[in-house]
């Protein structure tokens, strides 16, 4: 019983040294989840040690001879590496042996492979990448974050549906608030596509709360924020840059001299608590939505803790019928439209 996940153990900046211990640690703390560790047997075996025995039939290694490079063009990875750990992990989902795949490998390749192998759900034109960001209150799901640079209003509507169903599955909020990312400038409230998307969302039966602005992502004004992949990617990367700059400045301020270093020492518990609250590792694990299977992308530079969050998200989405929820919402909408 329980959910089985297929883990691409070779992907990411660090590869198996991080993914294997993270997978084992996750399995130990989540007895209802089983895992198939995908990758080169000769590389994975030594890292497993006697863990396989301890976890019994809940974990097994599935050999895959190739690895997709972090900078490899997606088309090449898809065409030439049919036995890559990434491809095999997704194949296992397709074959029904696993309910979800997790990879820290190259996003473009993972998206291309997932789309090719699993195909999109009925009514979904394009899959989207959905991440979670922290907010003053709770957290916010944002999509698309880079899979689709040119979106129609219909695509944005589909993102709204997929995001809502993800929140329903994972956060158990039955009618999540959906906001449409727009700009606040009085003169020109958004472009034509965004205006049309607003109309579609209003008539969708979703809990649409209208336009939101960039700052609303971090205020928690909506559970799901919908935007095209170009805008979403810029918002995400800009946030990463700002967070990095602020952390650099804070470190520099406390590191200036012996007195400021002492102050840092005194303030350590507070700084730690602050750091925990905004720890991006807790939010690791972007969901590739709209496919006939759950696929989760971990950040390439994820450490063990972060990688475990990505596994958790995948197991959670699969265990809470994410795919069925999206399918059934799409079906009911196409019935209503017919």
């Amino acid at each position: 019983m329980g959910v089985t996940v297929a883990i691409d153990c070779m992907g990411g900046d660090h590869g198996p040294v991080v993914t294997v211990p993270a997978a084992l640690s996750f399995l130990r703390s989540h007895p209802a989840v089983n895992a198939i560790l995908v990758g080169r047997e000769d590389v994975l075996a030594p890292l497993l040690g006697d863990a396989l025995a301890g976890l019994g039939s809940r974990v097994r290694v599935h050999h895959a001879s190739e690895v997709v490079g972090m900078d490899e063009p997606p088309a090449i990875a898809m065409r030439n590496k049919k036995d890559s750990s990434m491809r095999v992990a997704v194949d296992l989902v397709k074959a029904g042996e696993a309910a979800a795949a997790i990879s820290a490998g190259n996003t473009g390749a993972l998206m291309a492979i997932s789309r090719f192998v699993l195909k999109t759900l009925p009514g979904i034109d394009r899959p989207a990448i959905c991440s979670i960001l922290p907010a003053v209150k709770g957290h916010t799901y944002v999509l698309d974050l880079g899979a689709n640079v040119d979106c129609t209003a219909e695509h944005l509507l589909q993102f709204g549906i997929m995001g809502s169903m993800l929140v329903a599955a994972v956060d158990h909020i039955e009618r999540p608030r959906v906001g449409l990312l727009n700009i606040g400038e009085e003169a020109i409230k958004g472009n034509e596509i965004v205006k049309q998307a607003g109309e579609l969302l209003r008539g969708s039966g979703l809990n649409f709360c209208g336009n939101v602005e960039g700052n609303d992502i971090y205020m928690g004004s909506a559970d799901v924020v919908v935007c095209d992949g170009f805008v979403g990617n810029v918002a995400l990367k800009t946030s990463e840059g700002l967070a990095q700059m602020l952390s650099t400045f804070l470190r520099e301020a406390f590191g200036r001299n012996i007195f400021t270093k002492l102050m840092a020492l005194v303030a350590l518990p507070v700084l730690k608590q602050f750091k925990h609250r905004v720890d991006h590792r807790r939010y690791n694990g972007a969901v590739l939505l709209g496919l006939r299977g759950v696929v989760v992308k971990s950040h390439g530079s994820a450490d063990g803790f972060a990688f475990e969050q990505a596994i958790a998200r995948a197991a959670d989405a699969a265990g809470n019928q994410l795919i069925e929820r999206i399918s059934s919402k799409m079906a009911s909408m196409s019935e209503a439209a017919a």
Copy 2:
């Protein structure tokens, strides 16, 4: 001698109580700048006290009977309020009585009025809004931030030119590095317009350093970052939201109990230094670029210190021939193309 600026003293969330003292304080510390304070004489006079005498002919009040509301539709403000302080300040630039106008009023109205009164420079299709953001190294000018939601590749090229000339004028960097905001996803490097804009910028004679991503804004990888107004506005607002969230979290972490409050007290000098470094007030003053005159928009909620920065930016741009620089670059480019 010196630069004369026209200040809309009625605009902004606080109006004259903030703008008038800020203007006087600025004039006292900048003896080469003169100011025309625009607004209702009966409101401004009591705030001036005997400052007019002290500053001699360097400052005068220009009466304007109306005020543009912060939420007033730009078209209405433009059509119906010909004697608004905002309109009159821009009129003074048009008439040559001032070299620059500053307003903390509604952005849409200021853009509409400036465009109508001053017109765009030859070769410039659309004015853009350019702000400065802090970076790990130095700072970064970003445009457009919301004036244009649908941009062609040519518009993005023009933004690159205008931004470069602003940096040349204000920061005295003769060949500023210009980056094109794009997304890093391997599969799909930007949409068609951004790709074309890249080609145009490469052939422009500007110091084009290629694509940059959202995080580069805060890394200082380029002096000028060019994007369409929708993307730029989202990036800016997202940053504001994130900064606000982090500052809330930091305050909450230090405010939890008596011990953490004591830690905050100890760490106060460091926190102050950190706060100063990222103080958004220092970056106040967005430049409306591409017009036949310098117009600077202050944040509506600016306090006196922030409003002074906006005045400084306007005086600086006008004093360093911003308009002439843009005109001459546009002329040389159209000659080269002919």
